[in-house]
C-alpha cells in the first residue's frame, strides 16, 4: 500500500544561490591555455541552466526555479523595491519562479549566464547580511503555493559561506526552526558547498543543524550520503563547474522506487524486504501534441476522450464496459473479477528458486532492461545485513539466483536472473553505478525465436589473425563501454530544434553526434591492417571456391552467385568484403546517370544501389530514380 497515494508523483527543485563578493570572485584556471572567468556564482547558474534544459527532456512535468539570496535587489512575485510597504523577504531575488520552465525562462536564465552586464545588475551583493531563516521561509512559501502536494520537493542551496550567522544565537535558532518547517513540509534540503580559496567548507559550523539525516519522503534512504568532498576543494573555476555539475547531475532526479518493500524470499519461511528501482529506462522524445494557433499565443489543446457504444453512439459509463477477447469471429467475455484473476499468480514476491554460475547465463537471454534491487528495513529488521551477505556472496563467486518475480499483483510472473553489481565510481569518487542486485528478466520459451538458415563458411586461421589485429587496434578507452559518453543524438537534436523554434532562434546546422565512429582514427590506426585483411580474404576465398564446397544449412544454392563474386575479382587497393557485385552496380548506375538513362535500370538494381548506400529503397520506380539522381548530384 502506498501511504502517500494522494500525492502527485512530480518533483520540484528550487535553486537557492547565494550572492556575495566571494561567490562572484572569478577563479582563474591554473591552465594558462584556458582563460576563463568562472566564479562560483556563474558556475551555479550554469548548473541550473543545464539542469533546466535536461529536465525539459527527461521530466517534462517537473518544476524548477531559481532564487538568489544576499542580493542588493529584492523580488518576490509582485513585490520589489518600488512596491509600497515592507518587503517580506529582503535580499531574496526570485529570478525564475518555481514552475515547469517556459522557453522564455530558459532564455532569460541563459542570457543571465552569458550576458555579463545583466549579471552585474541582478547579481549585486547586498551590504547587509541576509537572514537564513528568511531565505528558508521564502523557499517554504514558494513550495507551499507553487508545488502543493508534490511527492518530491527539493531545495538546492549553493553557497561558499559555511557560517552565515556566526555566533548570533537568535538568527541561528530562527534558521533552525525554519529548516524544521521545511522538513515537516516534506522539502529536502540538498547542500552544494563550495570551499573558499583559503579555507574548507565546514558543515558542522551551521549546516548540520539545517539538514536532516533521513529524507521525510524516503525514510528508508539508508544513511545520509555525504556531499561530494571534491566539490569543496576545487580551486579553479572550470573544475569547480565540472564538479558542481556532476554533483548536481547525480541528484538531478529524486529517487523513486518502482516497487517498494517487496519480499525477497531466500527460502521457505525466510523473507527480507527490498525495494526495486528502474535505473535504466529508454528516454524517448515526448509525443507530439495538438496546438491551437487561434489564440494570442500557441496553446496546447487537451484531448478529452468519451466512450460511446458503436451501435447507437450513446455515451457509456465506465461500469458498463466489459472486457472480451475475439475468438472464432465472436467475443468471449469475462467478468472484471475473472479478467483480473487471469493475471493473478499470487502476492508480489521475489522468490529465489536456486543458484547458477553467471557464466551460464546466455548473452542472448534478455528481453528488456533490468530492475535494480536494494534492501529496505521497512518490513523486516535485519534485511540489510542478509542482503549484504547475499550480495557479497554472489559477487565473489560470480553467481546468479534464479528468481520467480511478481512485481505487482496483476503484473504476471517473470523468471529472472538476479546478479550482483559492484559499486562503480568515477575519477572524482562520485558514484556512477550503485552496489546492489539486478534482476534480469529472462525470456520464456514462447519468446525465443529460431535462428534462420544461414550460409556458414568458417574463416581459416590466417584470416582470423588479420581481423584480430584490427580489433586490437580499435579498443575503446580502458576496454569498457561508458554510456555517459554517448548522449542519444536523435533525442538531443529533437530538443535542440524545439528550443530553437521556441526561442525563435536560427536553426542549428549540424547536429553533434557522439555516436558516429571516429573515422579518421579508424583509418589511421587500422587502415593498413584492413587492407591486408582484405587481401587475405580474397586469397582465402579463391582457395575455398576452388577446392571444397561450402558448408551451409541451406539447400544447394545456384552456382551463378559464385560466378558473380568471382567476376568482381580482387580489388586493387580498395578493401571491399561485399563479395557481391556492388562494384559493378555502382559503375552501372554511374554510367546510366551520365547518359541520363537511369530509368532504364531495373527496380532491383536501383534498390540494391540505394540500400548499399544506406538509403531508403521504398517507393515507386520514379521515386527511386529521383533519389539516385539526388545522391549522384550531391557527389
Amino acid at each position: 500500500m502506498c501511504e502517500q497515494g494522494y500525492k502527485s508523483v512530480r518533483d520540484a527543485v528550487l535553486f537557492a544561490i547565494e550572492v556575495s563578493d566571494s561567490m562572484l570572485q572569478p577563479r582563474p584556471s591554473k591552465d594558462p591555455k584556458k582563460s576563463s572567468q568562472e566564479s562560483p556564482a556563474t558556475a551555479a547558474l550554469k548548473c541550473a541552466y543545464h539542469l533546466m534544459q535536461q529536465r525539459i527532456i527527461s521530466n517534462p512535468h517537473d518544476m524548477i526555479g531559481v532564487l538568489f539570496y544576499g542580493t542588493k535587489l529584492s523580488k518576490f512575485y509582485d513585490e520589489d523595491e518600488n512596491s509600497r510597504g515592507d518587503l517580506s523577504y529582503p535580499h531574496c531575488y526570485l529570478f525564475t519562479d518555481l514552475d515547469i520552465p517556459s522557453a522564455h525562462e530558459v532564455l532569460e536564465l541563459r542570457s543571465l549566464v552569458e550576458d555579463e552586464d545583466k549579471v552585474q545588475n541582478v547579481l549585486m551583493p547586498s551590504d547587509e547580511n541576509v537572514s537564513m531563516a528568511n531565505v528558508l521561509f521564502c523557499a517554504n512559501q514558494i513550495f507551499t503555493s507553487k508545488a502543493p502536494n508534490f511527492l518530491s520537493r527539493r531545495l538546492f542551496i549553493v553557497t561558499d559561506n559555511d557560517n552565515p550567522h556566526g555566533d548570533n544565537k537568535a538568527l541561528r535558532s530562527a534558521a533552525t526552526v525554519r529548516a524544521k518547517d521545511l522538513y515537516d513540509l516534506g522539502v529536502i534540503i540538498e547542500l552544494f558547498p563550495i570551499s573558499q580559496l583559503n579555507q574548507e567548507f565546514d558543515t558542522s559550523k551551521f549546516y548540520d543543524d539545517i539538514i536532516y539525516k533521513a529524507s521525510p519522503m524516503d525514510p528508508e534512504a539508508p544513511s545520509y550520503l555525504k556531499p561530494d568532498s571534491k566539490t569543496a576543494e576545487a580551486q579553479d573555476g572550470i573544475s569547480l563547474l565540472n564538479n558542481l555539475l556532476s554533483s548536481i547531475n547525480s541528484r538531478s532526479v529524486p529517487r523513486r522506487a518502482l516497487v517498494s518493500n517487496i519480499s525477497l524470499e531466500l527460502g521457505p519461511n525466510f523473507k527480507i524486504s527490498v525495494s526495486g528501482y528502474l535505473l535504466f529506462k529508454r528516454q524517448e522524445p515526448a509525443r507530439s501534441c495538438f496546438v491551437w494557433l487561434g489564440g494570442e499565443k500557441p496553446q496546447i489543446a487537451k484531448g478529452v476522450t468519451t466512450q460511446i457504444a458503436d451501435d447507437t453512439a450513446r455515451t457509456i459509463e465506465k461500469w458498463e464496459i466489459r472486457k472480451a477477447y475475439r475468438f472464432g469471429g465472436d467475443q468471449v467475455s469475462f467478468t472484471p473479477e475473472e479478467q483480473k484473476g487471469l493475471r493473478d499468480f499470487g502476492e508480489p514476491v521475489i522468490r529465489i528458486i536456486g543458484f547458477k554460475p553467471l557464466s551460464e547465463l546466455p548473452f542472448w537471454a534478455n528481453v528488456k532492461h533490468p530492475v535494480f534491487i536494494y534492501p529496505s528495513e521497512e518490513d523486516y529488521v535485519g534485511s540489510t545485513r542478509v542482503f549484504s551477505a547475499l550480495y557479497q556472496k554472489l559477487l565473489r563467486d560470480k553467481k546468479v539466483a534464479l528468481v520467480w518475480y511478481i512485481a505487482r499483483k496483476a503484473a504476471g510472473p517473470v523468471l529472472g536472473a538476479m546478479m550482483a553489481g559492484e559499486e562503480k565510481v568515477d575519477e572524482d569518487g562520485v558514484q556512477k553505478f550503485p552496489p546492489g542486485l539486478w534482476i534480469i528478466p529472462l525470456p520464456f520459451a514462447d519468446d525465443v525465436r529460431q535462428n534462420p538458415e544461414a550460409t556458414i563458411q568458417v574463416a581459416p586461421e590466417p584470416l582470423i589473425d588479420q581481423m584480430r589485429t584490427i580489433i586490437q587496434q580499435l579498443q575503446l578507452p580502458k576496454g569498457v563501454y561508458d554510456p555517459q559518453k554517448y548522449p542519444n543524438p536523435s533525442l538531443q537534436w529533437h530538443y535542440r530544434i524545439l528550443q530553437a523554434l521556441a526561442l525563435d532562434e536560427d536553426l542549428p546546422e549540424k547536429p553533434e553526434d557522439k555516436t558516429l565512429p571516429k573515422y579518421r582514427q579508424i583509418d589511421k590506426r587500422a587502415g593498413d591492417y584492413v587492407l591486408s585483411w582484405a587481401d587475405e580474404l580474397e586469397k582465402q576465398y579463391a582457395t575455398i571456391s576452388a577446392t571444397s564446397g561450402p558448408k551451409t544449412t541451406l539447400a544447394k544454392r545456384p552456382a551463378k552467385d559464385k560466378g558473380a563474386a568471382d567476376k568482381a575479382g580482387p580489388p586493387a587497393k580498395k578493401a571491399k568484403a561485399d563479395g557481391s557485385n556492388a562494384g559493378n552496380i555502382q559503375a552501372e548506375v554511374q554510367s546510366h546517370y551520365q547518359k541520363g538513362t537511369l530509368s532504364k535500370l531495373t527496380v532491383a538494381t536501383l534498390k540494391e544501389y540505394l540500400t548499399s548506400l544506406g538509403r531508403s529503397a521504398a517507393g515507386k520506380k520514379a521515386d527511386l530514380v529521383e533519389r539516385v539522381e539526388e545522391l549522384l548530384e550531391a557527389k
Binding site: 487561434g294 467475455s333 525470456p443 519468446d447 525465436r449 565512429p517 557481391s580
Partner: protein, 720 residues
C-alpha cells in the same frame, strides 16, 4: 504466410464410448473430446482463414455422407465439412457430439471418407493435410482397401494420427488387462495401418496428458535490417570495410492476447439497471446473434479561455496544428517542416570500437536480442563475417556499434557478441543505454557503512558478521541448480528457458478456449506446468533444509508488526545531522496559532509537542478552518492541490497518533458542506479528487481505533 491446413477429425461416438471404464470419472467420449476440443480450439484461436477443419462422426445413429449409398459407409455422419471454424460451428458441434445408441460403423470407411473430403477440398494444391481418428476400437473394422488407404495417404503426404482410450502403448506404459479380443485385433490393424503410412498411433492417455504442455507458436523469421556492417567511412576512406549482413530477432516477447472493450447492445442495456447486474451475462442469447457491441473512443479537444464559461472552449480537430511541448511552451510545427526535429541518418551498422567481455556488466542489456548473419547466400561475405566472429571470440571481446535500421530512423547503440556453435555462427546483438537512459540514483555501499562523520565502519547491524556470511555462503552453495543424469551424477543445467512457458499468455489462452466451449463453467486454474518454477525444486529443499535453518537462526531477521509501521507516538523525533534538539527550540518559541501560510509544518509540530488531547483537538479544529477557507477562496480548482495535501497530512498524522475519529468527524462535516455548496459554490470536483486520492474515512483496517468498517468507508465515498 503460414501454410494452408486442412484437418479432418473422426470421432467415434458409438454407444460404448458413452461408458466409463477403468475407474475413470468421465466417459470415453468426454475424455476423447478433451483432446479434440483442445486441438480444434487452438486452431480457432489462430483466427486464420486458411486453417480449416472438418469433423466426421463415426457410429452415429443415422448416416449422412457423400458415399452413403454404399452400405460400407452407413452409420457415418459428416458433422462439418472442411472450413474455417468459428464460434457458431463450435456451438453446433457441441450439440452433435453425443453418444449414439449403436456400435455399428467402420473406422476404415470413415478414413476413406476423410481422405475423399480432403481430396474434394484441397484438390492437387499445396495444403498441409491431416486426419485424426479417435476410436475405442470396438465394433467391426474391415481390413479391405487398407493398401489403397496407405498409398493415398502417402501420395498426398497426409499426416495420420490414430488414438484410442486404453490402446496399448508399451513406450508410454499403458496396457489394458483383459482386453476385449475384438479390440486387440482392431488395435493391431490400426497400428499396422498407421505404421505403413508413417503416421502416429498412440494411446489417448498420453495425448491428453501432453495437452498441458503449452504449444509454442513458431514465428517465421523476418529480417529487421538488411545492410552493411561497416568499419570506417566508405565515402571518405579507401580503407573502409563493408560486410553485408541481415538482422533477425533472437528473442521477442510473445504478447498475451489483449481484451477489447464491449458493452451490452443498447437495446438490451435498456433493461439493465446499475452496476450490480454487470456480472451476469444474459441467460438467453438474443435471437439475432451477439449481445455485445464494441466501444468507440470519441476524442474532443479543449483549450483554456478565461472569457469562456467554465474557462474552456472546444476546438475542432481540423483547426489544430501539430506541435510539441518545450517545457510549458507550445512549439508549433508547420506541415511542411514535419520532420524538422528528426535527425538525418543513413541505414548502416557502424563499428565504434571494441571492449573486453569480462569488463562488461551484463545488466546493461537494455532490450530484446537479435542475431546478425551474413547476407545469404554469399560465401565471401560468410567468410568475412566469420573471421570477425572468430576474432572477437578469440580476443574475448565485444564490439560497440551504431545501428540505423532504416534511413532517418534514430540511431541505436548496440553491443555485438560472437556466437559459435557446432553448425552455426552469428553475431548476437543487444541495445546499450545512452547517457540519458541512466538514472543516477545513489545508494550507500553494502560492504561497509560510512557514518555521518565520514568514518568507515565494517562491523554494524546492517552488515553481516562472519557467522551470517558463512551460513549464507553454505546455503547458496547448497542451492545450486543442477541436472541429474542417468548415473545420478550432477551436472550444470542450462537456464530453464526452453521449458519455461509464459504463465499469463498460456493462462489467458486456455481460459478463452475453455470459456468458448463451456460458457457457463468457471475458469479452470492455471496449468501446473506454468508455475513449475514458482518454487525451489523439492529435492533441493530437502537437502538444504539444515543450511536454511542455520541461516535463519544467525540472520535474526524480525518482521515489523504492521501496527508499528508509521506509528509516531513512540518514535524518536527527527533531528538534523548535528543531533540538535529542534523541538526544544520550537517549544520555546510557543507557536500558539497555526498560521495558514505555514499550516502543514506547524500542524505537525503542534501534534508532536501536544501534551494532551485537547491540544490535538484544537490543532485539528484550526486546520479545519484553514482548509475550509482555502476551499471557499479557491478560484475554480486553484487551491485544490493544497487542500488535498492538507487533508492527506491530517489523515496520515491522525492515523499515526491514533486519533482516527478526529479525522473522520472532520471529513463527514466537510463532505456535507461541499455537497450542500456551502464552501463557495459547486465544489463537487474537489470531492471527486478526495475520492481519487483515497482520502476517505479512516477504516478499521487502517487504524484499529476507528469505528468505521471498510464497507462504511467505501459507502461514504460513493454515496452522493
Amino acid at each position: 504466410m503460414a501454410d494452408k491446413e486442412a484437418t479432418v477429425y473422426i470421432v467415434d461416438v458409438g454407444k460404448s464410448m458413452g461408458e466409463r471404464r477403468n475407474g475413470r470419472e468421465i466417459t470415453d467420449l468426454e475424455w476423447a473430446m478433451q483432446y479434440v476440443w483442445d486441438r480444434i480450439t487452438s486452431t480457432v484461436a489462430t483466427g486464420r482463414k486458411t486453417a480449416m477443419l472438418g469433423v466426421i462422426g463415426l457410429k452415429t445413429n443415422g448416416t449422412n455422407n457423400e458415399l452413403q449409398d454404399d452400405s460400407h459407409f452407413s452409420n457415418i455422419s459428416v458433422f462439418s465439412e472442411i472450413k474455417q471454424f468459428l464460434m457458431p460451428d463450435l456451438r453446433q458441434l457441441k450439440d452433435e457430439i453425443k453418444p449414439s445408441s449403436t456400435d455399428k460403423g467402420d473406422a476404415i470407411s470413415a478414413l476413406i471418407l476423410a481422405i475423399q473430403m480432403i481430396i474434394t477440398h484441397c484438390k492437387k494444391l499445396k495444403w498441409k493435410r491431416k486426419i485424426v481418428l479417435i476410436t475405442n476400437g470396438l465394433g467391426r473394422i474391415s481390413d479391405e482397401n487398407v493398401d489403397d488407404i496407405v498409398s493415398k495417404v502417402e501420395e498426398d503426404s497426409t499426416e495420420l494420427v490414430i488414438l484410442g482410450p486404453d490402446f496399448d502403448d508399451s513406450e508410454y506404459g499403458v496396457k489394458e488387462e483383459e482386453k476385449d479380443p475384438r479390440k486387440a485385433e482392431n488395435e493391431a490393424l490400426l497400428r499396422s495401418l498407421s505404421e505403413q503410412c508413417g503416421g502416429v498411433f498412440g494411446t489417448l492417455e498420453q495425448a491428453v496428458s501432453e495437452m498441458v504442455i503449452p504449444r509454442v507458436k513458431a514465428v517465421r523469421p523476418i529480417a529487421s535490417f538488411k545492410g552493411f556492417l561497416q568499419l570506417g567511412n566508405p565515402h571518405d576512406y579507401d580503407t573502409a570495410v563493408r560486410i553485408p549482413v541481415e538482422r533477425y530477432p533472437r528473442t521477442m516477447v510473445a504478447k498475451a492476447p489483449s481484451a477489447s472493450q464491449f458493452v451490452l447492445r443498447s437495446d438490451l442495456a435498456a433493461g439493465q439497471e446499475g452496476p450490480d447486474s454487470i456480472t451476469t451475462i444474459p441467460e438467453t442469447q438474443p435471437e439475432d446473434g451477439n449481445p455485445l457491441t464494441s466501444v468507440r473512443n470519441l476524442r474532443t479537444y479543449q483549450v483554456s479561455d478565461e472569457n469562456a464559461p467554465g474557462g474552456k472552449i472546444d476546438i475542432e480537430r481540423e483547426d489544430l496544428a501539430k506541435g510539441y511541448e518545450y517545457g510549458r511552451t507550445a512549439v508549433h510545427i508547420s506541415e511542411t517542416d514535419e520532420n524538422i526535429t528528426a535527425l538525418e541518418t543513413e541505414a548502416a551498422l557502424e563499428l565504434i570500437g571494441f571492449i573486453q567481455a569480462e569488463r562488461y556488466d551484463r545488466y546493461m542489456h537494455m532490450s530484446n536480442t537479435n542475431i546478425l548473419i551474413a547476407q545469404r547466400p554469399n560465401d565471401k561475405t560468410s567468410l568475412a563475417l566469420s573471421s570477425f566472429i572468430h576474432a572477437l571470440f578469440e580476443l574475448e571481446s565485444y564490439a560497440v556499434a551504431r545501428l540505423v535500421t532504416k534511413e532517418n530512423k534514430p540511431p541505436l547503440l548496440v553491443l555485438l557478441a560472437p556466437s559459435i556453435e557446432p553448425e552455426y555462427e552469428c553475431l548476437l546483438e543487444v541495445q546499450l543505454p545512452f547517457a540519458e537512459d541512466i538514472r543516477t540514483y545513489r545508494f550507500p555501499p553494502l560492504d561497509k557503512v560510512i557514518t555521518v562523520s565520514g568514518k568507515v565502519v565494517t562491523e554494524h547491524r546492517n552488515l553481516p558478521n562472519d557467522d551470517l556470511q558463512d551460513a549464507l555462503d553454505r546455503y547458496v552453495d547448497s542451492m545450486e541448480l543442477m541436472d541429474k543424469d542417468e548415473d545420478g551424477d550432477l551436472s550444470e543445467a542450462p537456464f530453464p528457458i526452453e521449458d519455461s512457458f509464459s504463465p499469463v499468455l498460456h493462462r489467458i489462452n486456455a481460459a478463452i478456449r475453455s470459456r468458448a466451449i463451456q460458457p457457463n463453467d468457471p475458469i479452470p486454474p492455471p496449468a501446473k506446468i506454468l508455475t513449475q518454477f514458482s518454487q525451489p525444486p523439492e529435492h533441493l529443499l530437502e537437502t538444504t533444509q539444515r543450511h536454511l535453518e542455520k541461516l535463519i537462526e544467525v540472520a535474526d531477521v524480525k518482521k515489523v508488526p504492521p501496527k508499528a509501521k508509521g506509528r509516531k507516538r513512540a518514535r524518536e523525533p527527527e533531528k538534523p545531522l548535528s543531533g540538535l534538539d529542534v523541538d526544544a527550540l520550537l517549544s520555546q518559541e510557543k507557536r500558539v496559532k497555526i498560521s495558514p501560510n505555514n499550516a502543514i509544518p506547524e500542524f505537525k509540530q503542534t501534534l508532536a509537542l501536544a501534551e494532551n488531547i485537547e491540544t490535538t483537538k484544537d490543532a485539528v479544529k484550526q486546520m479545519r478552518s484553514i482548509i475550509e477557507d482555502q476551499i471557499r477562496h479557491s478560484l475554480g480548482d486553484a487551491n485544490y492541490d493544497r487542500v488535498t495535501e492538507g487533508l492527506g497530512v491530517m489523515r496520515e498524522e491522525l492515523i499515526s497518533y491514533e486519533e482516527p475519529g478526529l479525522y473522520n468527524e472532520f471529513l463527514k462535516d466537510l463532505k456535507e458542506k461541499i455537497l450542500k455548496e456551502r464552501l463557495g459554490g459547486d465544489r463537487r470536483e474537489l470531492w471527486w479528487l478526495v475520492k481519487r486520492s483515497k482520502l476517505g474515512l479512516i477504516d478499521q483496517r487502517q487504524s484499529e481505533l476507528s469505528d468505521i468498517t471498510e464497507e462504511q468507508a467505501k459507502a461514504f465515498l460513493s454515496a452522493q
